[in-house]
């Protein structure tokens, strides 16, 4: 086991992959049989080389181009945030009737995106869905980055950012505590818990693979020097460390620290498996709780269109929906930009996730219908008006287009996945995932803005229009998200090696798949 030398590429596939065709062998025509999780007759070493390869080799040009673009956008977004903070929240298009708009829309949108990662890593782990191994690491990473983006918005949307620490339950000389009745405070706890657990889960799962990177970094630098696995930690070791080039020293140092002394011992593995299972257990309720609590921001209010008991399950379903759409949206280009991953991230995975999209999309559609039905059934004119006249009716609602965009994207487009051909076509899946991502953003926009822009008293009705700062802040958050994800692709193990190898055919003496 040794790292790739500079310029060396991971082992090439014997039969080249042609994207968009079925010759990649992912599709099994035999319905009784599932396609394998790893294609191309890969050996264990091949898999290791593929996963670690991008961290060691030079990244392909499209990645570099993408990073340039996204980091510029991220810088722009950061500039917008600074401008907001030094000038005032008024640089956004908010007003006294629509006090939340894109800020909270973006917050809920990103939090929703973050749901897929935990769902895949926790619930699918507990349910022993082994296909999850191909996507869990990147989905978890996506979760972390989405939560980072989500955390930005409530942080900067307050009028006095420098006093945001008032939200923390810190004992102070005035004896003033936060208001524990406020759903916004519940949000603070829910989101921070979620972020912490997700981060732990993600990081812990990565430790063995980071250790692999560490070892490979060391070994590729000491090319030819054979070293036993038992002493993989070069730092502080009595073995003489050869004079390495600077960047490689740093890699060894950082991966060494990050791997927390992992030595691949079976005791390590044993404890690792236990801890992983426990964290999966802890994360599972969080999948449900976070978005339920986010939905309380609205559900506990008295504003028609917000005050809806269906929100907790509806938000969770929507979050899973949006999260999976984002996973798909990222994974499909990933297979093109980093083609070596195509054997590990197969169409079978895509198809499975497309099925989840279909399921959750239909749930969301049902929720939309129920919401409308209850508004009518309640006989409350304010309630019904919000649904009928603020959202649905193009003859009256100025934001009708937002509502119908949402319906089209979230309810109509996933119905394509009833057709097998559609859910096996990466391009179609990617397009649908794009629609769903847009639709889920609009769902939050519809809930937040269309409800409050015309609430009880027509005398105070007012439209919301985003300013360029609104738009660029959101675009900037996308840039931050993408930049973090691209950096993840380069520097961290994108797949869980051990788990991946477990589901490879070689690890099964029996042929039950």
């Amino acid at each position: 086991m040794h790292g790739l030398q500079p310029g060396e590429q991971p082992v090439a596939r014997s039969t080249p992959l042609i994207p968009g065709t079925s010759d990649d062998g992912t599709l099994s025509e035999d319905t009784g049989k599932r396609a394998p999780c790893v294609l191309g007759d890969r050996s264990f070493e091949d898999v290791t080389n593929i996963v670690c390869g991008y961290a060691e080799a030079k990244m392909p040009k499209p990645w570099l181009a993408a990073l340039t673009i996204t980091s510029s956008i991220a810088a722009l977004g950061t500039g917008m945030i600074l401008y907001l903070i030094i000038t005032g929240v008024g640089v956004w298009g908010l007003n006294n009737q629509v006090d939340w708009a894109w800020d909270i829309t973006n917050f809920v949108f990103w939090i929703g995106i973050g749901h897929a990662g935990t769902l895949i890593s926790a619930i699918l782990c507990l349910l022993k869905q082994n296909w999850r191994t191909a996507v869990n690491r990147s989905a978890e990473a996506m979760t972390i980055f989405a939560v980072v983006c989500a955390g930005i918005f409530p942080g900067i949307h307050v009028g006095r950012v420098w006093f945001a620490w008032f939200l923390a339950p810190i004992p102070n000389s005035n004896g003033i505590w936060p208001n524990f009745r406020s759903p916004l405070l519940w949000d603070v706890f829910a989101v921070s818990t979620y972020a912490t657990v997700s981060l732990l889960f993600w990081y812990m799962g990565m430790i063995p693979d980071v250790a692999t990177l560490r070892d490979r970094a060391y070994m590729r630098l000491t090319k030819g020097v054979s070293r036993p696995m038992a002493i993989p930690m070069p730092i502080g070791n009595d073995i003489i460390v050869p004079q390495l080039p600077k960047p490689d020293q740093i890699r060894v140092l950082i991966y060494g620290i990050m791997s927390l002394g992992w030595r691949f011992s079976s005791r390590h593995w044993h404890r690792y498996e236990k801890a992983y299972l426990i964290l999966a257990g802890i994360s599972t309720p969080l999948v449900l709780s976070v978005h339920s609590i986010v939905s309380f921001d609205f559900a506990t209010s008295i504003i028609p269109g917000w005050h809806t008991t269906i929100f907790p399950p509806y938000f969770v379903a929507g979050a899973v929906f949006g999260g999976f759409a984002m996973v798909l949206w990222l994974m499909i280009p990933l297979r093109l930009i980093l083609p070596n991953f195509s054997d590990l991230l197969t169409k079978r995975h895509l198809e499975n996730m497309a099925k989840i999209l279909l399921l959750t999309g239909t749930m969301v559609g049902f929720a939309y219908g129920m919401e409308f039905f209850i508004a009518w059934y309640s006989g409350n004119e304010f309630e019904f008006s919000v649904f009928a006249n603020n959202r649905v009716n193009p003859a009256k609602a100025p934001y009708w287009w937002a509502y119908w965009t949402m319906i089209f994207c979230n309810v109509a487009t996933p119905q394509l996945f009833w057709f097998r051909k559609m859910r096996q076509n990466p391009l179609v899946i990617w397009i649908v995932a794009s629609f769903v991502t847009v639709g889920m953003w609009f769902e939050r926009f519809v809930i937040i803005v269309t409800s409050i822009h015309r609430a009880f008293l027509p005398g105070e009705w007012h439209m919301f229009f985003p300013t360029w700062v609104d738009i660029l802040t959101f675009v900037g958050s996308c840039g931050i998200f993408m930049t973090l994800f691209l950096l993840f692709l380069k520097f961290l193990p994108v797949f869980a090696l051990a788990e991946l190898k477990v589901v490879m055919p070689q690890s099964h003496t029996h042929d039950d798949h």
Binding site: T87, G88, G90, D99, V158, P398
Partner: protein
Amino acid sequence: MSTLDQCPSTHNKIDIPEDAPELGTVSGRKYWRSMEEYSATPEFKELLEREFPVDASIMDDTSRRSFIKVMGASMALAGAATIPGCRRPDRKILPYASNVPEHVIPGRPLFFATAMALPSGGMEGLLVETHAGRPTKIEGNPLHPNNQGKTSAYAQSSILDLYDPDRLKYPVFNNSTRGKLAATWDDFDVWANEQLPKFDATQGAGLAFVVDKQSSPTRDRLFMQIQQRWPQAAFVAWDPAENRGQADGSKSVLGQPSWTRYNLSKASRILSIGEGQIDQGPEAMRLARELAASRKLLSHTDEMSRLYAVESKPSSIGVMADHRFRVAPSQLHNFTIALAKAVLLKTAGSGHLLPDVDVAGVSSTEIQAIANDLFEHRSHAVVLPSDSLNADTWALCQVINDALKATDEGLVEFFPMSPQVASNSSHSLARLNNFLNQGKIDTLICLGTNPVYDAPGFIDFAANFAKAKNTITLSVGASETASASTWSLNGAHYLESWNSAQSIDGQMAITQPMIAPLYDPARSEVEFLAGLLTAGDDHADKPDGYKIVQDSIRDIMGLGSAEIGKIWKNALHNGVVASPTIQSTKKPLNPERLIRGIATRGAKPAPAQSHLDVQFYTDRYNVGQSANNGWLQELPEFGTSVVWDNPLLLSPNTAKSLGVLPLHTSQDEFNPYTKAQMPQAQLVNITLNGRTMIMPAWILPGMADNTVAIKLGYGRTNAGRVGNQVGFNSFDVKTITGMLTAGATITKAKDTYTIASTQNHWSMEGRDTIVRAMDKNWFDKHAEAGIKAVPDQIYGAFSPDATSYLNTAEQLGELAHTPPNISAYENPQTGSKAGAAAGSAFSKNPQWGMSIDMNACTGCATCTVACQSENNIPVVGKSEVAKGREMAWIRIDRYFTGDDLNNPEEIFNQPLACVHCENAPCETVCPVNATTHGKEGTNDIAYNRCIGTRYCANNCPYKVRRFNFFDYAPVKFNGGLDPNYTSKAVADKFEDTVGQDRTANQNLIPPRLRKKLDEISKMKFNPDVTVRSRGVIEKCTYCIQRVNSARQDVKIQGIWSEKDQVGPIPDGFFEVACQQACPTDAIAFGDILDPNSRVSKERDSHRTYALLGYLNTKPRTTHMMRVRNPNPAIHVFDAHDPLDHSGGHDDGKKSGSHGSDSHEPAADTHGESHSAVFTDSVKQYLDQGYSLSLKVIS
């Protein structure tokens, strides 16, 4: 200066900063005798090299240090309170309170009585709150008979003019060759001594005055003396927005121009013709109060008057009316003729002489019904004509009044008008203009007027003004005329000067200064005039306003010098000098000639698209003089709610047929607001009498068709940084024919124009429970029947058979139909109904509450500006308002109801501030506990704790919470229109980019790059109220500072027996700012647990309901539903019992005839998209008068 010795600050002469060149500051009179002589002095040589830049101002951009230097070293600002009294005026004035404190108590305000003369006659008696010698708030003087403790919005906002940083600060001499030079009053005196005595030889020929029409006895006396000195001098009493109806009309029937007073306390039938009677004018406050009083009722036994209004444009009186008719200005004349004929035919008068005329907008049966009703109630019926009507119409209205015996019964009284006020100012100005053009005027003196700006466009006054050799302007604020004058003199604000004012019945009051002139030395009008009288006498004393006013009062009242002392003190203390001195005239009317004349002249043609009727109007006395007053600029105009602008107004159908509708989306033809972030109006060319100007067109439902309403007083070019370039100068197309004219045409121009409005939706969307209304017959029936027990859970306890008791107004709302609300959670507030039940958390006195009577609210918005003044609410500017970020704590929601927006059935005003819910939705959601509940039932907010999540604002069903999106209050404000807000370098850049956009929003510049508020502007703040920074929420506090101060006062007086007791506070012990200002007493505030308080009586009324009460918010502010008193012969609003929900009302609410234009073809109504209903399936509930029901279950 000999008498001005009491204040140390006046010892220091004004110290003009180094960079301002001076013209003979060392008192030139010792050194030179003429301009020629002076130009040879070294001082002048030096001056030439340091030419004073045009429009630069000394006080601008001052640091605190140089400010203090200018103001005098011992100037007391907040914090520098070592000599707290030193900015107080030099003369002894008496505090209002009878229990005079020995000295000023730091932190406690003192109140002084004074008087404000209104721009075109009449006055308001005021009390001014001063903190450490600094006036901060205007209130009405309760002892003054006219306004009785109330004020107009104009008076409320006048304090901002005092602290206007763009005021004139020192005399400026405009030398024709060397430009504008900073000068001093000494310089002016020397110049005047040199120049003015030459008119003694010509007896004043060549000298002209343009003065405003204020009625100040002192000033009038000085004018008489000036006329004695210079009998040939020309005087023009100039009112740019002059209405001739009253002066000319009364002359034609009484033979003498007269003021009219209507005593509505005895009237049961009132017909208003035209607009503005209760908005502007010397009698507006009285009229509004009496009109509202005649329409207030608490129970079914109370009587109320019936009010008809015939008007062209929705106005406050029309909105209050039981029957409102939309009639074009020209047709008001026809209407009056038709009505006069109908009435006079009943009284054996000369009605047969009058022609039969057609009135577009009112059917003859309706006119007959009105005439019948008035006649049946003769002796108690009165017609209120607007001043803006033409003389014939106005006079004919008095003929009707006479026929109805209103004049005999004292419902109408006439008081002789002074010749100065009665003079036709348009004609005088036109004559002066000719003289100027012919070069006959050598010296022109403008006093408080601005004719260069506001003369009608066609006489080109500005060009002729320059033809006078010398022009002198005395003005408080910057003005176009001052800037064009040879001498621009800085006047003293009325809060800085001695003067007197007079109501129409001769009741005199003294204007006493609250503060020494901020830009000392400055002269008031009377001092300036007195100075002119002694011009030429080098040894005359400096004019002293105190002495002049005292002398004139003594003179007018014929008192000896001993008597005056006592009367003077009383007058200063009470704000009222003595009882009325002018008797009402009892001259018999002489209608015969008038009627024959009218019959000869005939009716007026109805307007059409090709010749539109035009109505010029002013809002809150503003003819341009208030342009730099941000409070008035941002006070929503009645009806349109437009701020910072004067678009020309059209009815929806007229705008549509002319093709000039504002930009709108396909959904909402008449609501243009959804198209762009800032609503866009279509620019149009309006042509009137051969002159054309460009203006934006805006629609106003309820306008008469084919009528254009144009507001005057905008488009100033030299008003200051707030008022410059705001709106359009409509004086350009104004003619001398008065305020109502005809024959305009409108064509569409190319561009669009941004309009900011605080309310963006016309209709109530059929949500009848928001503003509830009921016809009087049904109200009487149900109120008599008493409260109704209904099974209801919302306010009740848990048991399913709990009962709620609903009064009449509540039965009209959701609560009567709310299904049982069974909850497993026991709300801790449940024990406390909004009435604070015994034993609940809110059962200890005092428990504050407010009641708003929507029968009395005229929509004048005085409460809004009073609140702004009291609570330091910032002005945010046009572009911020356009984005929906106005900060006013109390707003007036205005709704048009009915199916046809063009001809709304009714118009409602609903004042709304924070309602202080006992069960407040905002409090539960605030994550940091910044908004919490007070023990006295107030919803409090701690600005320090607020981090600005705005969750509370989102969760507020009333949407009354306001967020500081920017640093509105602490950063310099410039109107949102002028880009000169940063350092020069930055400003230069913006000049080319943002500066081109007149709506550029300087708030988008980080506050650190902007100027902080100047020291002068900071003085306007009420020291009892925090100035909020950006990022915090604010809203109505029930004037918590006044509550707290009252609690302390009561405690000091020792009426509470127990040591820890904090209540009760007697009703009327204090008033909150909106209540105090409300001219019609529509707002009651007090302790709801005190059974004798006005608020608790109103809450017990069957008219009281809780807005959105079904949400269980338990608001402490309740509204009283409107009760109408319609004439069944014309139209009833509730054809069926509004509380009878058994159905069978499919024939709709309309019955009787409601004017021919109300039944226009369906194609013209456009009502579908914005009329009262959401969907047809819901409409049937709405028609039944309630809107919340469970159809499926029941």
